[in-house]
């Protein structure tokens, strides 16, 4: 049984087709890495799955845990267990970080018909989750992401993930802008959250994150489709050889589709 099944997905942004027949299946507990050159549609995939405005699906289907994902509003997708860790987490001035998280958790619980957590029980949960992803008391009580460093923002995302306990977590270029220590901390947090019933979709431009979070599968997204799939060795091959070699086996890919080589 798959947790996520994407079938022949086509999507447009501002009238331009970015995803052109993307298919992917993810089972519970699996970690899938999506790599690909710049402009291949990696972030578009993350945004389409989480339901962002401005991304128009023109064909295909997405089934998530037995539901038609594309029919759900973004907040409903969150409530049924989808989580997007942002590439650029957003600042919300004046809104307390902990308050925000509690509002999110309770909105999700309410949607699922579960009892909302009062502040005592919520604080207990927060303490527990701090063991997974250590963030300072100071950050808990500051406004959402306001004045956080790049690393603090990404750690806050993983902390939110720990509290919200999604079934599927999509990490959109979570490694971008992180130094190696921050990267390790984030990876440790993610690894602590791996479980047989939680899946991950890790969207990344660079192989280095995969040194710390070991994927079960690696896919290459180019020209709006998954063109190669393999295990971790595929990521290493991409790191060594770039993407140009894909043109040999995929003559339909234009040179521009493969231009952005990994550093």
């Amino acid at each position: 049984m798959h947790m996520l099944t994407i079938d022949n997905l086509h999507a447009r942004v501002e009238g331009k087709e970015i995803l052109k027949g993307l298919s992917l299946a993810v089972k519970p507990g699996e970690v899938h890495a999506i790599m690909g050159p710049n402009g291949a549609g990696k972030s578009t995939l993350a945004n389409v799955l989480s339901g962002r405005d401005g991304y128009e699906v023109t064909a295909g289907s997405v089934n998530f845990d037995g539901r038609d994902l594309l029919a759900l509003e973004p907040e409903e997708r969150a409530a049924v267990g989808m989580f997007l860790a942002f590439q650029y987490p957003v600042e919300i001035p004046g809104v307390n970080n902990t308050y925000f998280l509690r509002a999110a958790l309770n909105a999700q619980r309410k949607f699922r018909g579960e009892e909302e957590l009062d502040s005592m029980r919520f604080l207990k949960l927060v303490r527990e989750k701090l063991k997974v992803m250590q963030i300072s008391d100071d950050l808990l009580h500051r406004a959402v992401n306001e004045g956080f460093s790049g690393g603090e923002k990404k750690r806050n995302e993983i902390f939110q993930m720990a509290v919200l306990e999604p079934k599927l977590a999509i990490l959109d270029e979570t490694d971008s802008g992180l130094d190696i220590d921050a990267l390790k901390q984030v990876a440790e947090g993610v690894n602590a959250l791996r479980s047989p019933d939680r899946s991950f979709l890790i969207v990344t431009h660079y192989q280095r994150l995969l040194d710390y979070i070991e994927p079960d599968f690696v896919h290459v997204l180019a020209g709006g489709r998954i063109v190669e799939s393999g295990d971790k060795s595929l990521a290493l091959k991409l790191e060594e050889q770039g993407y140009a070699w894909l043109a040999d086996t995929h003559p339909e890919l234009r040179k521009a589709d493969l231009a952005g080589a990994p550093a």
């Binding site: 339901g51 997007l84 809104v95 925000f100």
Partner: protein, 492 residues
């Protein structure tokens, strides 16, 4: 009374098919009911005779009648002002009734018409025993008269006088005579002159030297009768080393006609005295198309007369078709401090032109202004503020921060800061920002499972945090709820 019971309103199609949102839209103005109660009103119209009658009904001494008449005569010579960034339909001052009172004037709380008490209960005003529980002393003004003041005995023991203005004129004439009009002179402006001539009631507070008022004092204003204006007059005197925190809340029923509310509030702080004045204004704002609603033209001014005194205004303005007010501080005493914290929210066709004046006269005086404007729908929201540093105000300081938040594309936000600095040692700072609720912020909230309406109110609440912090706790909760209700349907 000829009451229009027609309260159904067309509701714009909600952005989402969400039953809760639809329900919320329908209950948007919760205070919009009419109380069916017999009232005595003066016939519509304004003349010297009406002013005399009004004064006579209230059993006022001659000096008060003369004071009113002088104000009325001066008012006749004044042109109606039009300098604000407001679009105001002409007001027919002869069609307004200048006095409306529930029949059979109450002598004590026990005699207050149960229907009136019910009204206040609906509004959540803690009158009667509820007041005791809430620990707030309330003076409730219904149309023109003050219907009852709670906690009188407890306050009297502390030496605090808290009563209706009418009673103060009768019982504490010397104090009233000494201070009334000493901050806002009768000829100050058009609406202040009108108010001085016809004010019908209001609250009077006197805190004697060295007394820290043992509880928060509160007035609740409500306009009920049709075609009446409400002209209340509030006078707060705080003597040396004394302190008071005063809260004011306002509502009115939904009606298709515009109703005029022209109040005057005067605060006097003597040596080292502190006054904290908080307002939550939720007068009926009119409907989506700008029909009906209250014209809220108010003069509020505090005089830091003594050295080291402090006056702090906090206001949350969500109601009224038109709001036109500038709670101000005259910083006369050396080292006196003036503060102004404001959230003004406009939606649909509402208009607000509000801000403050800080007049620095004494040495080492300080003022702080934090103004947050939120505009939605097709509303217009202006901040207008004056910081004036007089010649003798050595080392005066001002900090002003004006932030505007726009929701949607058809609303407007404007900032008109005026500065007059006549003393070179003064430091005046001004910061202004305008922002929109960004799609990024909204999507971030949605992606965490928070619905659109909740996300908007959360972002707005965050934007207002600096001001809400200044409100007494219960008021802060009310203010937050009010913003949520006022903003429903604002995004789409």
């Amino acid at each position: 009374m000829n009451e229009s019971e027609n309260m159904t309103r067309d509701v714009a199609a909600p952005v989402r098919d969400n039953a809760e949102v639809v329900e919320a839209l329908n209950r948007r103005y919760e205070a919009g009911f009419v109380t069916d109660i017999e009232s005595d009103s003066l016939p519509p119209g304004l003349s010297e005779d009406i002013v005399r009658q009004l004064s006579a009904i209230k059993g006022e001494p001659e000096w008060m009648t003369d004071w009113r008449l002088a104000a009325y005569r001066h008012w006749l010579t004044m042109p109606e002002p039009d300098w604000a960034k407001l679009d105001i339909a002409p007001i027919d001052y002869q069609s307004v009734s200048y006095y409306s009172a529930p029949k059979a004037g109450p002598k004590s709380l026990d005699e207050v018409d149960p229907k009136l008490l019910e009204t206040y209960e609906k509004l959540g005003v803690p009158l009667h025993e509820r007041a005791r529980l809430a620990g707030v002393a309330v003076d409730a003004v219904f149309d023109s008269v003050s219907v009852g003041t709670t906690f009188r005995k407890e306050l009297a023991e502390a030496g605090v006088i808290f009563c209706s203005m009418s009673e103060a004129i009768r019982e504490h004439g010397d104090l009233v005579r000494q201070y009334l009009g000493s901050v806002v002179p009768t000829a100050d402006n058009y609406f202040a002159a009108l108010n001085s001539a016809v004010f019908s009631d209001g609250s009077f507070v006197f805190i004697p030297s060295g007394v820290r008022c043992p509880m928060e004092l509160s007035t609740y204003f409500r306009i009920n009768a049709i075609n009446t204006g409400q002209f209340e007059r509030t006078l707060i005197i705080v003597e040396d080393d004394a302190y008071v925190s005063y809260l004011e809340g306002c509502t009115a029923p939904m009606r298709d006609e515009n109703q005029l509310h022209a109040a005057v509030v005067e605060l006097i702080a003597l040596e080292r005295a502190q006054i904290k004045y908080s307002t939550v204004q939720n007068w009926y704002p009119g409907d989506e198309n700008g029909v009906g609603g209250i014209y809220n033209f108010v003069t509020k001014r505090g005089d830091c007369r003594g050295a080291d005194s402090k006056i702090s205004w906090t206001q949350v303005e969500t109601g009224s078709a038109i709001t036109w007010k500038y709670p101000s501080c005259i910083l006369r005493g050396d080292r006196s401090v003036g503060e102004f914290y404001s959230v003004a929210l406009t939606h649909h066709r509402q208009q607000a032109d509000t801000g403050t004046k800080m007049i620095h006269i004494g040495k080492g005086t300080k003022s702080k202004i934090v103004a947050k404007g939120i505009s939605a729908g097709r509303s217009s929201n202006s901040y207008r503020g004056l910081v004036k540093i007089e010649k003798g105000a050595d080392g005066a300081r001002n900090y002003t921060q004006c932030d505007s938040l726009l929701i949607g594309k058809k609303c407007g936000a404007h900032t008109f800061p005026y500065m007059e600095v006549k003393n070179p040692s003064a430091i005046v700072e001004h910061e202004a920002t305008t922002s929109k609720i960004s799609d990024d912020q909204l999507f971030y909230c949605l992606s965490r499972g928070i619905g659109e309406e909740d996300a908007v109110s959360m972002i707005v609440d965050g934007f207002c945090k600096q001001v809400f912090r200044e409100l007494p706790m219960e008021f802060a909760v009310e203010a937050k709820k009010l913003l949520e209700v006022s903003l429903e349907g604002a995004v789409g």
